[in-house]
């Protein structure tokens, strides 16, 4: 085990820890910050997988945009006298454990059972050198993946308008 592996495993643990903390925390703000660490860890893992652009994009979009949005949401939806404390219901705990546990067990079995190396393109791909770079992503985005690109833009537009409409209604009612 060299250093990269250690750092790799460190970031895995970080993500995991953040998720676990989110599960067991009683405070929403603390959960939000745990999410932040998880996202950070995942961004690092992206980099380790050879997708630097995505890692940076992840940090920018998720942490910079979505998380801030979440924090604003938390701020706006908490009672003025309490401080967003929440308890975990026992009933829900059971269902969560059943669902999550069951699914994890299932996925675990699948992942361990399946021999991914038998897939041909994985065999091919493990010998290739990574040729990623922002430039190639940009070119592919404009040529191969132009359609999803446009649709994504449209969706963003719709989301923008929608959120604005809904929020505007909210603001109107508030005033």
């Amino acid at each position: 085990m060299n250093l990269t592996e250690y750092i790799f495993y460190f970031f895995c643990l970080l993500s995991l820890a953040g998720a676990v903390y989110m599960l067991f925390s009683k405070s929403v703000i603390y959960s939000a910050f745990a999410l932040l660490t998880t996202l950070l860890g995942i961004a690092a893992l992206f980099v380790f997988a050879g997708a630097e652009f995505l890692g940076i994009a992840q940090i920018m979009i998720y942490i910079g945009g979505v998380l801030v949005l979440f924090l604003f949401g938390i701020m706006m939806t908490r009672r003025l006298n309490s401080d967003a404390l929440e308890k975990t219901g026992n009933k829900n705990l059971l269902t969560g454990i059943i669902a999550g546990g069951g699914l994890f067990t299932l996925l675990l079995i699948i992942i361990l059972k399946v021999n991914f190396l038998s897939l041909e393109w994985i065999q091919r791909g493990s010998t290739q050198k990574s040729a990623t770079g922002v430039a190639s992503i940009g070119v592919k985005l404009m040529t191969d993946y132009i359609m999803p690109f446009e649709i994504a833009a449209l969706i963003l537009l719709l989301a923008l308008i929608g959120a604005a409409v809904i929020a505007a209604r909210v603001i109107n009612r508030q005033s």
Binding site: N92, T95, G96, I98, A99, G102, L103, L106, I109, I110
Partner: protein
């Protein structure tokens, strides 16, 4: 008329006399029809019309009488209808016979009817329901003529019943009076009981001979012995009809009560005609009666004669005395029939018709006069209640009503059987023949029958003498009891011409010369010569012995009556106690017996059956209804709990199932997500398993 009748299927042609007889028959019917429907509009309610029609009928009957007696019999038969039998037909015929006896009866019926019509013109004047009186009389006359003319037993029976019905109408003429309607009912019912026997006799005859035509029966009876048991039964059955109609022993209680009717009605029906129909029937069926049956008839007749006479002794009602007297004289006639002397019986019928009608009409005159006296008394303010029929308030009427007295006297003497009167001839004929018959019988007890006849002569004399004395002789008992009636009594007098004329005519007909020029012997009478019964001719001894005995007994009876009543004019000394008095006064307790031994059990049984009927039928109904109610309740229960229950069960189940599924609609997102995940897990597991 002839054209109409010739269209019928006839076995022989209808000669003029038969046609005349039919006209004769239908004249009273015409009178009835006119008066019944149009009587209200005619002047005097049509009584003159009725009398005229009956007068014409009388003339016709006299013509037929002369014709048959100087000529020969007439007979006509026609077919009425056919019934189909397994082999061949049964033919029902009707026939008319005009022989010496039937034309005699025709004359009797129409003549007495005419007398009664004349009499009623005055007697019934002013009485209520006047417009119904003459139609009923006409109907009765029509029915009686039908019996006389018919030679077919079935047709005779039809008219027989009609006569019974007409007598019911006439007896109950004043039906507002309860006793009158009861008497009418009683008469009809007693007749009906007799007619039941009559019907049985008819049925036996029809089943044996397949016909009810008397002429055919006469022929067919040569082949059958008379002592055939069925035939004897038939004879007794037909005799039962006579028992009812002629008021013989078991069925005699209706005749005294029938005096509730108007007096002319009593004269017509109960003296002369209807009660004689029984005797006429016996004459018609005489050929099929065997000796034992005839003995039975004779015994009944003798018994009735005696009983009627005994019962008449103690009667205080003037009409009831005459009613019992009629019963007694009818007993004589029936006795004579039983002995075989139908000629004597019919002769007595003829004479009896005249003198009894005369007696009744004179009694009616007396009653009429007593009514006037009573009315005058009341108008003078003396309200003394007495029955105008009660002889105890009569007396001394001889001087006031001489014509009535004369008629009454002649008729009474004729009834008793005093020589020089018609009754003597006929009664002696009967008694001689009876004695003669008894002498030829092997059984010495048969002498009881003529003995009964002779005793009855004595008793008859006694009670008729009593009546004569009580009504006409002595001083007026009414005035003795109630002196204030004296002035009204002084105004009593003979009735008017319409009442006097019939009295005189009938009284004249009760004298001997009409019937025989020999006042002492009936054998020489034109009647007996024409209608003579076969049989042993009486010994000469009896010819002298019997009349002597009757004269002696009659005188004895009159003497006793005079002794008892004429001398005791100041009081009505009569022993009211005593066994014989009670027996006589209560008509041998026949009414009592009928009431207690027949009526009461029948009513009791009827009541019990009524109750049972109610219980059974109502019980059935109730059980039916209760069953229905129970079924309804069960149905309701089933409907409520089973049917509705199943529905409720369904709804309950669907509700519970829905509730079950409703729990899953929590409305919370997290649970929905959980369900999704669970489903996906399940699918994945399934996929992986496979």
């Amino acid at each position: 008329m002839g054209i109409f009748l010739s269209k019928l299927a006839t076995t022989n042609t209808m000669d003029f006399q038969i046609q005349l007889a039919l006209v004769l028959l239908l004249l009273p019917l015409l009178s009835f029809a006119i008066l019944f429907f149009l009587g209200k509009y005619l002047p005097r309610k049509g009584d003159i019309t009725a009398t005229l029609l009956i007068g014409i009928a009388t003339l016709l009957s006299i013509y037929l009488f002369v014709d048959v007696y100087t000529g020969y019999d007439h007979y006509f038969q026609a077919e009425w209808f056919k019934l189909i039998k397994p082999e061949g037909y049964t033919t029902f015929t009707f026939s008319i016979l005009l022989n010496k006896v039937s034309v005699m009866m025709l004359v009797v019926v129409t003549f007495i009817a005419l007398m009664v019509h004349l009499y009623s013109l005055e007697y019934m004047e002013g009485k209520r329901n006047y417009q119904r009186y003459f139609p009923y009389l006409a109907l009765f006359t029509f029915s009686m003529l039908g019996i006389v003319l018919s030679d077919n037993l079935l047709i005779m029976f039809v008219f027989w019943e009609l006569v019974g019905f007409s007598s019911y109408l006439l007896i109950g003429f004043w039906f507002e009076k309860d006793s009158a309607s009861q008497a009418a009912k009683k008469a009809f019912l007693f007749n009906r009981v007799g007619d039941f026997g009559f019907i049985c006799g008819l049925l036996i005859l029809w089943s044996k001979f397949d016909t009810l035509e008397l002429s055919i029966l006469k022929e067919q009876l040569t082949s059958v012995a008379l002592t055939d048991p069925m035939l004897m039964l038939a004879g007794i059955g037909l005799f039962c009809g006579t028992l009812g109609k002629s008021a013989q022993f078991p069925l005699m209680a209706w005749l005294p009560d029938a005096m509730e009717g108007p007096t002319p009605v009593s004269a017509l029906i109960h003296a002369a005609t209807m009660v004689a129909a029984g005797v006429y029937l016996l004459f018609k069926i005489f050929f099929l009666l065997a000796l034992p049956v005839l003995d039975f008839i004779a015994i009944i007749g003798a018994l009735t004669a005696l009983m009627g006479a005994i019962a008449a002794i103690t009667q205080n009602d003037i009409k009831k005395v005459l009613a019992f007297s009629t019963i007694s004289q009818l007993g004589y006639m029936v006795m004579a029939m039983g002995v075989g002397a139908y000629d004597a019986a019919l002769f007595h019928l003829l004479t009896h018709a005249f003198f009894k009608a005369c007696l009744f009409l004179s009694a009616g005159a007396v009653i009429h006069e007593m009514h006037h006296i009573q009315k005058e008394m009341f108008s003078q303010g003396h309200y003394f209640e007495f029955s105008t029929l009660d002889m105890r308030f009569m007396g001394g009427l001889r001087k006031k009503m001489p014509v009535t007295f004369m008629a009454y006297l002649i008729a009474t003497l004729s009834l008793i059987g005093v020589p020089l009167f018609s009754g003597f001839l006929s009664k002696d004929a009967i008694l001689i023949k009876t004695m003669d018959w008894a002498s030829y019988q092997t059984n010495p007890f048969k002498y009881l029958i003529p003995a009964a006849g002779l005793i009855t002569v004595f008793i008859t004399a006694f009670y008729m003498g009593r009546q004569l004395i009580m009504v006409f002789f002595g001083a007026s008992r009414l005035v003795q009891k109630y002196p204030a009636a004296g002035k009204a009594f002084d105004h009593a007098s003979d009735p008017g011409i319409f009442m006097k004329l019939p009295l005189l005519i009938l009284a004249t007909l009760s004298l001997f010369p009409i019937f025989s020029f020999n006042p002492f012997d009936a054998a020489g009478s034109w009647f007996m010569l024409n209608v003579s019964a076969p049989g042993n001719h009486a010994e000469l001894l009896f010819h002298y012995l019997v009349p002597f005995a009757t004269i002696l007994l009659g005188a004895l009876g009159l003497f006793l009556a005079w002794k008892k009543y004429a001398q005791a004019t100041s009081s009505l000394a009569e022993k009211k106690e005593g066994f014989w008095y009670a027996l006589s006064a209560n008509n041998f307790y026949q009414d009592y017996a009928t009431k207690h031994y027949i009526e009461k059990p029948v009513l009791w049984m009827a009541n019990k059956m009524h109750i049972t009927d109610q219980k059974v039928i109502d019980g059935v109904l109730h059980s039916f209804v209760i069953t229905q109610v129970i079924i309804a309740h069960i149905a309701a229960f089933v409907d409520k709990y089973v049917i509705d229950g199943s529905i409720h069960l369904l709804t309950y189940l669907s509700g519970k199932v829905a509730d079950l599924f409703r729990k899953w609609q929590t409305g919370g997102i997290q649970s929905y997500v959980f369900y999704m995940i669970a489903a996906i897990l399940a699918i994945l597991i399934l996929i992986i398993k496979n």
